[in-house]
């Protein structure tokens, strides 16, 4: 019997990180810009994607990868709006992982083909904790918070707000009915993630959507250049 120490210094999620690197390469080869959409359940990921596509559809051909524990409700909604969509059912897993995205991308490739897609929205499982650790090969992660959830979410879930490349505050049209302290919310984000631009929007009413879409187009163009 002998004892020894083996030094590993390896990322715990190394398998996912390898897959994400492969996906990132594949997206770049086909000039596909990928957006990982994060939020809690019900804050408006689906309606934000639809409203964004509505404004950008003349410039970019979009597809959606839907992640949910169960059901194909969101994928059906996307297809009804004329957007190619693949539904992933995680069966209980609280986030999407690289291998699931790979399968969904294969399906899109066999369907419309990756060269016929400019932008993929990945609608992650509604969750403010776990998706942060799983790189999906995306160009941009966005965090959507909705007014009814409250201004204290960045304090309670700093990781996801820190990780986001842009933060959208959705449902601002109903703000008068809620005690959402915009100053307190901004003060926390000024320290937590000062670099990410913030947009106040109402996906269903259209408020702020043009500003958000203009910024997003700039990011897509910059990635293509």
């Amino acid at each position: 019997m002998a004892e020894k120490t083996v030094s590993l210094n390896e990322p715990i999620l190394s398998r996912n990180e390898r897959l994400a690197a492969e996906l990132r390469q594949r997206f770049a080869e086909h000039k596909v810009y990928v957006i990982n959409v994060l939020s809690s359940p019900g804050s408006g990921k689906t309606s934000t994607i639809l409203a964004t596509n509505e404004r950008l559809r003349d410039r970019y051909r979009a597809a959606v990868i839907e992640g949910d524990i169960a059901s194909d409700v969101d994928a059906v909604t996307m297809k009804e709006a004329g957007i190619p969509a693949v539904q992933i059912n995680t069966g209980g897993l609280c986030h999407l992982e690289g291998n699931m995205i790979k399968q969904a991308v294969d399906a899109l490739d066999q369907g419309v083909g990756l060269d016929a897609i400019d932008v993929i929205f990945i609608e992650n499982v509604g969750n403010l904790v776990c998706p942060v650790d799983f790189d999906l090969g995306e160009n941009l992660s966005i965090m959507i918070l909705s007014v009814p959830e409250g201004d204290d979410k960045p304090v309670k879930y700093p990781g996801i707000f820190q990780h986001a490349g842009a933060v959208l505050l959705n449902k601002v049209d109903v703000a008068p009915a809620f005690d959402f302290d915009l100053d307190a919310y901004n003060a926390v984000l000024n320290e937590l993630n000062p670099r990410a631009p913030r947009f106040s929007v109402s996906a269903t009413r259209g408020q702020g959507m043009d500003e958000w879409c203009a910024w997003l187009s700039e990011q897509i163009e910059a990635a293509r250049a």
Binding site: S7, L8, V129, V132, D133, P158, N190, P194
Partner: protein, 118 residues
């Protein structure tokens, strides 16, 4: 669920590395986890007990966790500073242009194994 996924990754990598090193069992595993990874120690240990039980090489292995406190560097004034999970702005010049140097680690540092020597 978050911690369960992390631990299943740890068990997979450690068992594979131990097997490659000719181990008869794994005695302990050392992880490096950044404060910003939002990992709960209690859940981590619960998942550890559940999952190491299922992997013969890992049964009974102890788990050691080294917490890594966050630090960033300012791209404007080059100040290196430690911070908590909420304040990433440069404390010297107030710049938002900072890059995280450490604090989000999710790494397996090393494993202690037992080998059957001749």
């Amino acid at each position: 669920m978050h911690e369960l996924g992390i631990v299943s990754g740890v068990v997979e990598v450690c068992a594979k590395s131990a097997r490659e090193a000719g181990a008869s069992r794994v005695l302990s595993v050392r992880l490096r986890i950044g404060d910003m990874a939002e990992v709960m120690d209690e859940s981590l240990r619960f998942a550890w007990e559940a999952l190491t039980e299922e992997e013969p090489l890992m049964r009974g292995a102890t788990l050691e966790v080294e917490d890594v406190h966050p630090a960033s560097i300012c791209l404007d004034c080059a100040e290196e500073f430690e911070h908590d999970r909420f304040h990433l702005r440069c404390p010297v010049c107030g710049s938002a242009d900072t890059v995280l140097l450490r604090g989000r680690e999710l790494e397996i540092a090393s494993i202690d194994i037992e080998t059957e020597d001749d």
